[in-house]
Symmetry: C2
Subunit: 335 residues, 2 copies
DNA sequence: CTGTTAGCGCTTTCAC
DNA sequence: GTGAAAGCGCTAACAG
């Protein structure tokens, strides 16, 4: 009925251990023998029983994606990148929603990893920054790669994006378009990207010898509503900036709504820029000038270096920082 | 080091088999004995080794979500609903991106299920409608539940939404708002929801003794661009409808853009309605009147009835149809 | 380079 | 109601 390693060994006239060696790509098998085995494998349609492999070797060929309530399109991109990496290596992908505020997060995950013999984890923000949690993983010798951590530890696997540089570049671009009075909406304070983006903005302003106005700098939390509220406040006064840079697209859309409700034309009366190039950026009118991060590629790389690591392949291109692209669209006008 | 069933049996002074009975909730264990065992389980912190269970019993306590390139926010909702159901039962969730056009879809999935001893599958459109594929699953005795199939087979597990009724209701609502000249943008022809929504629209029009105009009925494919193109065509003529109902929100956003580029005010010059209540519906301005389907709940239910089935619990509330809500927002105006 | 043996941790089978 | 024995399919450890 089901073909086992034993059947293959009989068919190929070798020991089962030799078959095992071949299917695990171990050294010390003569080319000749290997070929013989592979022929039998193919002929019989043999597929190793993962449960048996897992029971014996304590690995599952499964990796897990951990996330805590992210933006939906971000999640889909991350997941897709990881999945594609898994496809290439034959690994499978389990997903695990977490609550980063839960007191038994650590235990839940440790049990999860232990139960399924998960080979490694991929963490997304804000999990990427939970040092406690990461230490617990280290202590338990659980392999992981983090996406977009705020502090990049040389000894750990990570992928990151250049939030600071991208925000700096976008701000410079806005300035190049002739804007001198630029507002900024900050992102969620717990999210490491928020301060990076803000710093990029501020430094660009300062380096171009411009000044900021505290009335134009508002605290948001990445939600549409927080952007809308910030916009309402800003547009309430008579003295409004000529451009506003929001730390993400949802907030930028919120600002656009508040501006349009005030009767302000975009981009004629006010220019708007966002960050992320989420689906909405291109489906709103006027379309948003924004920054695109290669999220799927980043996640793909994270999965690749993770799997390379526990397969003993220490690649040279390990952890790395990815560049973002400026996407110029109609919401930004030249003054 | 790791606690096994043997350790528990020693501690509780019963046989291994009895411990096994207890952890699997089998019958024929005296209450007394059961308690004793559970105490030891807790005391020692025993967790059954899934690989061993799986090797022996050929089940994995894993279910899989299969999808083919869906809308990102739809995927996130479906996934979340399934995940929550899994949490309750202790199952794990593996995800599998598919290409429904691939000639080896069937084999890929059969191997996947067989390799991981996946206990059951959840299918999303368009996989839900691939009869070939479903037959292959049946033949191989693979359990599955489908989300939003076009034909609901009594013998299979499914969850569906009332696309037809919802489209009928939304159209009636538009008519109630005084509109007599209503355009419609169809969805992707391969997607079963497309014709249901269109039929709901047409029937509402006819039952209200109104007429349609072929120039106002366009074929789209659920993409923003297809909505935009349809809008450009419609607004190109002098004779334009007073309202347009697009089969999903992305296309509605596309129409809004084409209208606004033409200088048409929404909803003063033209009313727009969408379908799905995707994130964009509420982040665009003016906000979209649309239909909200309880996608997460549907997926949650699908997972529940699937797991109930292979755990031998034949619930009374099996397959079921979920109701949608009309969401009235600014894009629809009373004439 | 190849093979033998033992045993991972559990459930199945069958006996009592 | 309970238990003893066998063995799922594979890999680790060792021997040669």
């Amino acid at each position: 009925m089901t073909v086992t390693i034993k059947d293959v060994s009989k068919d190929a006239k070798v020991s089962i251990k030799t078959v095992s060696r071949v299917i695990n790509n171990e050294a010390n098998v003569a080319e000749e023998t290997k070929k013989k085995v592979l022929v039998s494998v193919k002929k019989l349609g043999f597929r190793p029983n993962k449960s048996a492999q897992s029971l014996r070797s304590k690995r599952s060929f499964i990796i897990a994606l951990l996330y805590d309530n992210p933006n939906k399109s971000y999640l889909a991109d991350v997941q897709s990148g990881i999945f594609k990496a898994c496809k290439l290596t034959g690994y499978n992908l389990v997903i695990q929603e977490c609550d980063y505020k839960s007191p038994d997060l650590n235990n839940t995950i440790l049990e999860f990893v232990n139960d399924l013999k998960i080979d490694g984890l991929i963490l997304t923000p804000p999990l990427s920054d939970m040092d406690d949690f990461l230490k617990d993983l280290d202590k338990n010798k659980i392999e992981y790669a983090v996406i977009a951590p705020s502090t990049k530890k040389a000894e750990s696997l990570y992928v990151s994006s250049n939030d600071y540089e991208a925000a700096y570049k976008l701000t410079s671009e806005i300035i190049k378009h002739g804007h001198k009075q630029i507002g900024f909406i900050k992102g969620h304070p717990k999210h490491s990207a928020s301060s990076l983006r803000f710093n990029g903005f501020i430094d660009a302003i300062v380096n171009h010898s411009l000044e900021t106005n505290d009335d134009w700098i508002k605290q948001g939390n990445f939600s549409f509503k927080s952007g809308f509220d910030a916009g309402v406040e800003i547009f309430h006064s008579e003295n409004i900036p000529s451009a506003i840079f929001a730390s993400n697209d949802s907030m930028a859309a919120g600002i656009m709504k508040s501006a349009q409700m005030k009767g302000l034309k975009i981009p004629d009366d006010i220019s708007i820029a966002g960050f992320d190039d989420s689906p909405i950026a291109d489906e709103i009118w006027p379309a948003l000038t924004t920054v695109r991060q290669p999220v799927e590629k980043m996640a793909n790389h994270a999965a690749k270096i993770l799997m390379a690591k526990f397969n003993g392949i220490e690649e040279s291109n390990q952890s790395k920082e990815f560049k973002s692209d400026l996407i110029l669209r109609e919401s930004l006008k030249t003054l």
